[in-house]
């Protein structure tokens, strides 16, 4: 067993520098690497390019990095919940590349899996395809999209072990598995670090080979963005 465990978030984020490109798991505020984000705020690294489906809200998630103006460029599919984001984007302080959600997931997966590029129908005929190669297969048009390149990937899992194996919970899974192994260094934080051998080998979502560092996360807030409930009848 190859040991990926590091003592804490400080050790896990060693090597993080200004002007790097990072990938973040999470959909909205669900399944985001809360510990890594807090540490990036503390380190106050600047000029970052962040690949993340969303940009958090004003006071949580990647919104915390936006507040400190640490982010130079966001690559996302949907950024509708963040006023500070909108302000920085419309003022031109923040560079933004919006891409289809399925393309975002697959560009991460392509990086993980060693595919340089793939053809997808999403965005054909729209401004997303401008400047990109398009091509017909079986009478339908497709756009050529490329694998992401990133320095660090920050992943949040439910359970994990020192071998780097990960298990996710519910829809907090989202982009997290696809981003594992997609960056040069994948850092996973987990709600529960369990002894090696406890996870069923048959039920591991991401094998440890895709993870370089893993640590026990602390103080998860797991904020709910839209609390919707129904009446008990």
């Amino acid at each position: 067993m190859i040991n990926k465990k590091v003592a804490n978030v400080t050790e896990a984020l060693q090597g993080v520098k200004d002007d790097m490109t990072f990938m973040f798991g999470g959909f909205g505020l669900s399944g985001i690497p809360e510990n890594a984000i807090a540490q990036l705020v503390k380190l106050n690294v600047k000029g970052l390019t962040c690949i993340s489906n969303n940009a958090g809200v004003d006071d949580f998630g990647l919104g915390l990095l936006l507040q400190q103006k640490q982010i130079k460029k966001m690559i996302s599919s949907y950024v509708g919940e963040n006023d500070e984001f909108e302000r920085q984007m419309l003022s031109g302080e923040l560079e933004v590349e919006l891409i289809p959600q399925g393309t975002l997931a697959e560009r991460a997966r392509a990086a993980q899996a060693g595919f340089p590029a793939f053809y997808t129908p999403a965005g054909y005929g729209t401004e997303v395809a401008e400047g990109k190669e398009t091509r017909e297969f079986n009478g339908k048009m497709y756009v050529l999209e490329h694998a992401f390149k990133a320095d660090f990937g920050f992943i949040k899992a439910w359970k994990g072990d020192a071998a780097g194996n990960l298990v996710f919970k519910g829809t907090a899974r989202n982009f997290n598995p696809n981003m594992c192994g997609a960056a040069n260094i994948t850092v996973a934080e987990v709600e529960e670090l369990v002894p090696v051998g406890e996870l069923d080998p048959n039920q591991i979502h991401i094998p440890g080979i895709f993870v370089q560092r893993i640590f026990q996360g602390l103080h998860y807030e797991k904020r709910i963005e839209q609390r919707t409930v129904r009446q008990r009848s």
């Binding site: 959909f27 909205g28 505020l29 669900s30 399944g31 489906n53 996302s76 599919s77 949907y78 950024v79 509708g80 919940e81 909108e86 984007m89 419309l90 933004v96 919006l98 891409i99 289809p100 959600q101 399925g102 393309t103 975002l104 997931a105 697959e106 991460a108 997966r109 997808t120 129908p121 999403a122 965005g123 054909y124 005929g125 729209t126 401004e127 997303v128 439910w158 996710f168 919970k169 519910g170 829809t171 907090a172 899974r173 989202n174 982009f175 997290n176 598995p177 696809n178 979502h205 797991k222 904020r223 709910i224 963005e225 839209q226 609390r227 919707t228 409930v229 129904r230 008990r232």
Partner: protein, 217 residues
């Protein structure tokens, strides 16, 4: 004239037994409330869940179980969770049978715009571009006109496109319309709405053939 719930109710009639359905944010989400109970349907949400159920009871919300609108949800027996790549495999691979989504504009050739108003509103496309580029069966749920009273059914879209030539059917507060090679074909009128009212609210070419029945909801 229909309200949002009326539109959802009419669209629910398009949902067939055995369909996997992806519902967009807004009016489409309401469709789930009106699907017949004697048919089997499963709802997919692109953030990674199949087999969504109703909202949870108060106190039972789970931050790890949400839909694409970031709302807390529950799951039904037979549900599954999966990653985003697999979720879009379902969508891109045409395993989802029906996509229902909102729009800011639809053109008579089936083009749709719903993600950006340059210089004003830039929320992003989320999964909409994948959905419209892939789905065989797309229904748009929207008001017939915008807040300024301008038609949203146009000769051609003025806003940045989400997808080209993909919309098959539109259900608005005024009408049910099919997108055909000849233009917007009027299929049904909303209760109490005349053909002329629909004509006046439609900028794109409206095809009217024979008697246009009133919707049955």
């Amino acid at each position: 004239m229909l309200d949002k719930h009326g539109i959802a109710k009419r669209i629910a009639k398009e949902v067939k037994d055995g369909y996997y359905v992806n519902l967009g944010i807004g009016i489409p989400t309401l469709v789930a409330n009106f699907v017949r109970e004697d048919i089997e349907v499963e709802f997919q949400s692109e953030n990674g869940v199949l087999g969504m159920g109703p909202f949870p009871y108060e106190g039972e919300e789970d931050a790890d179980i949400i839909n694409a609108g970031k709302q807390t949800i529950t799951t039904l027996p037979g549900a599954s969770f999966f990653d985003s790549a697999m979720s879009f495999s379902m969508i891109r691979g045409q395993h989802v049978d029906l996509t229902i989504l909102g729009a800011m504009e639809v053109a008579e050739n089936g083009d749709i715009a719903n993600w950006k108003i340059p210089g004003k509103m830039v929320k992003g496309m989320g999964g909409a571009m994948d959905l419209v580029a892939s789905a065989e069966n797309i229904i748009v749920a929207m008001m017939h006109t915008n807040r300024e009273g301008e038609s949203k059914l146009l000769k051609s879209c003025t806003l940045p496109l989400t997808g080209v030539g993909c919309v098959k059917k539109i259900v608005t507060n005024l009408a049910v319309i099919e997108v055909t090679p000849k233009g917007f074909k009027l299929l049904e009128r909303a209760p109490g709405v005349s053909v002329d009212e629909i004509k006046n609210a439609t900028e794109g070419h409206l095809v009217i053939e024979g008697e246009i029945p009133e919707m049955k909801i």
